[in-house]
């Protein structure tokens, strides 16, 4: 009996040993910027089953583990973008002023090349937000950029739900002129925008009451489900995070006071270009702010934006993240974080946190990602130099221990892809007319993200 038990134990442990070896990655001799516990020189990171198992010196892995020599290189947590529209087949449902029923989860395109380019900038996760065409937009989705995997694998299942709000020029549609015969959409002013939001919460409160009454058997009439108000009730119950697009400090404050009135906390002010003007008010409420590092002057409400916003908010104790809101800018968020040291003097680790741990905290996923700590997901970027140096480049990006970007591999594949492209270009159907080919007269339309619907003329959602 005892012998059998020992045998079973042996088999079991041998089995698990094999499994462990298969799933181990060892990063050797790196300078590790942990974004939690300072910088560690000549340090190894052992990854097991997608998690950071150990951080230390002279670590060893089991046979068959993938070893990455990171001598002379810098390792950071994967960068997290707190505001992105990458891999979204639609951005704005702008026909109504409240579209809380819509879900970004339903329009994800896992083959968007923007994902790969973001990985090449060390980005591993993003908050995919509805656009800012309306006062209350759709439900956002947190994803990891697992390029090449099915879309289900992208979604961070245990991330808290959220929703997009918007204030200012975009929801009031200042830059959109009505087509002949088209009616204008309410609201057209900042006054109206706030009232749209207030009205939605009043309706949500009544709706919640009707369900509470039904559940308490005060009535036998079961309320009709309302997909617009359900997410609003979740906000009132503290179960859904509000990410509110806005620029001017007065409109931020209006929303914060409205949230006080209805008893919920705004999770993040998105953009917050004038948030520095009301930093103490934001800090007191525990609201986070996700800023552009230094964009300004591209529209009227961005004219008072300053690159010191991050510093002033940080000094006031506000949880600050830096976002891109752009498939181009997402590739260089490391440099945006570096600018926080220049403008005001945010310390290095706190600046790094603004693109790693802080966005993770704002989105409620910091238990699993955002810093290099034992037990967290192995979401990691490996850089050729300090990531705050303009001369640094990403060598490798890992998500949960799997390599999703490898520059050496990328370069190796280029000649192969070039050959494939040349072969495709030689095909009859792809030749230019007049050069002997017979392609379709009208080429298939290539749809860009900004072409999807009339509402998108609201701009690039900045």
């Amino acid at each position: 009996m005892k012998a059998i038990l020992v045998l079973l134990l042996l088999i079991f442990s041998a089995g698990s040993l094999v499994a462990q070896v298969r799933n181990e990655v060892l990063i050797k001799n790196a300078t590790v910027l942990t974004a939690a516990r300072g910088t560690l020189e000549n340090t190894d990171i052992l990854i097991r089953d997608g998690k950071i198992a150990r951080i230390g010196k002279n670590l060893t892995a089991g046979g068959g583990a993938k070893t990455i020599d990171a001598s002379g290189k810098f390792v950071t947590p994967g960068i997290i973008d707190a505001h992105s529209h990458a891999m979204m087949d639609a951005i704005n449902e702008g026909t109504l002023s409240v579209t809380s029923m819509t879900r970004i989860r339903d329009v994800l395109n896992p083959t968007d090349i923007a994902i790969y380019r973001a990985l090449a900038g060390g980005v591993t996760a993003a908050n995919l937000l509805h656009g800012s065409a309306n006062a209350i937009g759709g439900q956002n989705t947190m994803v990891k950029f697992k390029y090449g995997k099915p879309v289900e694998d992208f979604v961070i299942a245990d991330a808290p739900s959220g929703i997009k709000f918007a204030m200012g020029e975009n929801p009031k549609r200042s830059s959109q002129s009505a087509q002949p015969g088209q009616t204008l959409r309410y609201p057209r002013t900042r006054m109206g925008t706030l009232e749209v939001i207030r009205d939605a919460f009043v309706r949500a409160r009544d709706y919640k009451q009707s369900w509470d009454d039904f559940r308490a058997k005060k009535t036998n009439v079961r309320p009709r489900r309302d997909l617009e108000l359900e997410p609003m009730v979740e906000i009132l119950e503290g179960k859904r995070l509000v990410h509110a697009h806005g620029y001017r400090s007065d409109e931020h404050l209006n929303l914060l006071m409205l949230a006080d009135e209805f008893g919920f906390r705004v999770a993040t002010l998105q953009h917050g270009l004038e948030a520095y003007k009301i930093a103490p008010e934001i800090a007191r409420r525990g609201t986070g702010v996700s800023i552009f590092a230094d964009s300004w002057s591209y529209k009227l409400e961005a004219y008072d934006s300053i690159p010191y916003t991050g510093y002033i908010l940080w000094k006031n104790g506000v949880l600050v993240s830096i976002n891109s809101d752009s498939n181009e800018r997402i590739r260089r968020l490391n440099l945006d974080a570096a600018k926080m040291m220049k403008y005001g003097g945010v310390p290095e680790e706190d600046a790094l946190k603004m693109v790693t741990l802080n966005p993770a905290k704002q989105m409620g996923i910091d238990k699993r990602t955002g810093s290099i700590e034992q037990g967290k997901d192995a979401d990691i970027a490996i850089w050729t130099a300090h990531p705050f140096s303009v001369y640094s480049r990403v060598d490798m990006t890992l998500i949960e221990g799997d390599v999703y970007f490898d520059r050496a591999m990328d370069i190796q594949k280029r000649s192969e892809m070039l050959k494939e492209r040349e072969a495709l270009e030689k095909m009859d159907i792809n030749k230019a007319p007049g050069s002997g080919g017979t392609p379709p007269r009208i080429p298939t339309e290539k749809r860009f993200e900004h072409q999807h619907e009339a509402e998108d003329v609201d701009g690039d959602n900045r």
């Binding site: 591209y298 303009v390 480049r393």
Partner: protein
């Protein structure tokens, strides 16, 4: 209540008196300085930056040296330099001295706020042919972009008009001055032509503007080039008729045509013509046009210029590359396709500069555009040259700008590190030998709000 109002009024009167008094006081202070707007245009003088690392750009780095600035020029550079006795000394220990950065690809001062404030936008004139439109007449010397840009070490920019076929003439300006004349390095630095493209894309609304057949697009492009050539011929004919009349007054004096007259120095190759072009086939078409018309050609944009590198080099056509902060166009382009392009131009021996291509607000990122090219194949030295000496050479001003050399205009930046790095701080800034305060709209707003405390007065 009435009493309160009266008191309030009295307070205002007192305030006005106080302001008047302080204004008189500050007027005296200004009179004691050089009389200009002290805070905006800085002060002249003789300055010596000592014990500094001098990155001359044109020559070797001087690890510990002195730069003397006098009468707006650099008058001495070297490891052992005699400092004039009247010089104001700046201790450069631990600091580096660079020439001011130059961005040849901007629309600085022509657009303050592009969205929602059309009245501040002077980028694009009506019509296709506006050779006489001069950026220098619309550049706003008091644009808030000017100070924000220069405090990051960019001292000189070329500002170009946009729109139409012939957009107008660019200006090369120093980022300091109360008037356009104060700012101008070259009031007319180049003629900007938006070179006709092979464009199959109809528009964002395919019903209104369907995609165009490729052959038709080529034909349309060729027709537009013929129209452009006709303008060139007209301008040449106009110039000859004018010249003939000046020699022989018995001939008819042709009516003055401002647009054609503006073309003359450019069609005769005396000044550079900038062609905006990105794709290889459009760039090759520009090369053909430039050689046929015997122009001094410059490509602006130049995404795929490296693909035509041999031809560009052969015909000495320079490139102002403005696509570092741009996404590759095709899905299957390498992710670093546009980061690598400057290195490829350099390897092929094409003259090039790196520019931001920005309206103004983000021109201050110029060092990072160059630095990113440095991360993808370009040497650090060439990355620096691509925003200093190279643009000066392309614009024909390398005798006065682009490096730390004796005799050059004193556009000098003193930093605490590599000027292309985002963590580096600018410590001193000189433009035309004037020491400028490191203030901008941003620092002013920062100072106004950095220490603000909450006032918890509820809205009644």
């Amino acid at each position: 209540m009435r009493f309160l109002i009266f008191n309030f009024r009295f307070a205002i009167v007192r305030m006005v008196v106080a302001i008047l008094v302080s204004c008189t006081a500050s007027a005296i202070v200004f009179a004691q300085s050089d009389g200009s707007q002290q805070n905006k245009t800085g002060r002249a003088g003789t300055f010596a930056i000592t014990n500094a690392r001098i990155v001359t750009v044109s020559g070797a780095v001087i690890e510990n040296g002195t730069v003397v600035i006098q009468d707006g020029r650099i008058t001495a550079v070297g490891a052992s330099v005699t400092v004039p006795t009247n010089a104001e000394k700046i201790d450069g220990k631990g600091l580096s001295v660079y020439p001011g950065l130059i961005d040849a690809g901007t629309n600085m001062g022509l657009a303050e706020i592009t969205q929602g404030a059309n009245a501040t936008v002077d980028l694009t004139e009506i019509g296709t042919m506006n050779a006489n439109a001069k950026a220098i007449t619309a550049v706003n010397p008091h644009s808030s972009h000017v100070n924000v840009t220069r405090v990051n070490g960019i001292t000189t920019v070329q500002s170009s008009p946009a729109g139409g076929l012939i957009a107008g003439q660019s200006a090369l300006i120093n980022l300091n001055g109360s008037t356009q004349a104060d700012m101008a390095v070259l009031s007319t630095s180049a003629l900007v032509i938006n070179f006709p493209r092979v464009a199959t894309f109809g528009g964002f609304n395919p019903q209104a503007a369907p995609p165009v057949d490729f052959n038709d697009a080529v034909k349309r492009r060729d027709t537009q080039i013929e129209e452009l050539k006709k303008i060139f011929t007209n301008a040449e004919n106009y110039a000859r008729a004018k010249e003939a009349y000046l020699k022989d007054k018995s001939l008819t004096n042709p009516a003055t045509d401002l647009k054609l007259a503006a073309m003359v120095p450019y069609i005769r190759g005396q000044r550079p013509v900038i062609f905006t072009a990105e794709r290889e086939r459009d760039i090759r078409a520009v090369i053909k046009f430039v050689t046929e018309m015997k122009l001094k050609g410059v490509i602006m944009g130049g995404q795929e210029a490296w693909r035509a590198a041999a031809d560009l080099k052969k015909n000495d056509i320079a490139v102002v590359y403005t696509n570092i902060y741009t996404l590759p166009v095709r899905d299957d382009d390498a992710y670093d396709y546009l980061f690598e392009a400057p290195a490829k131009l350099q390897q092929a021996g094409v003259r090039f500069a790196i520019g931001t291509g920005d309206n103004g607000a983000e021109v201050r990122d110029l060092p990072y555009h160059a630095g990113l090219a440095g991360a993808f194949g370009l040497s650090k030295e060439d990355a620096l040259k691509s925003v200093t000496l190279y643009p000066a050479q392309i614009l024909g001003v390398s005798d006065t700008l682009g490096s730390i050399e004796v005799g050059k205009q004193a556009n000098v930046v003193v930093t605490d590190g590599d000027i292309l790095e985002p963590r580096t701080n600018i410590k001193y800034l000189f433009i035309g030998g004037r020491l400028l305060p490191l203030t901008s709209r941003h620092t002013e707003l920062f100072d106004s709000f950095k220490d603000r405390k909450e006032s918890r007065t509820p809205i009644p």
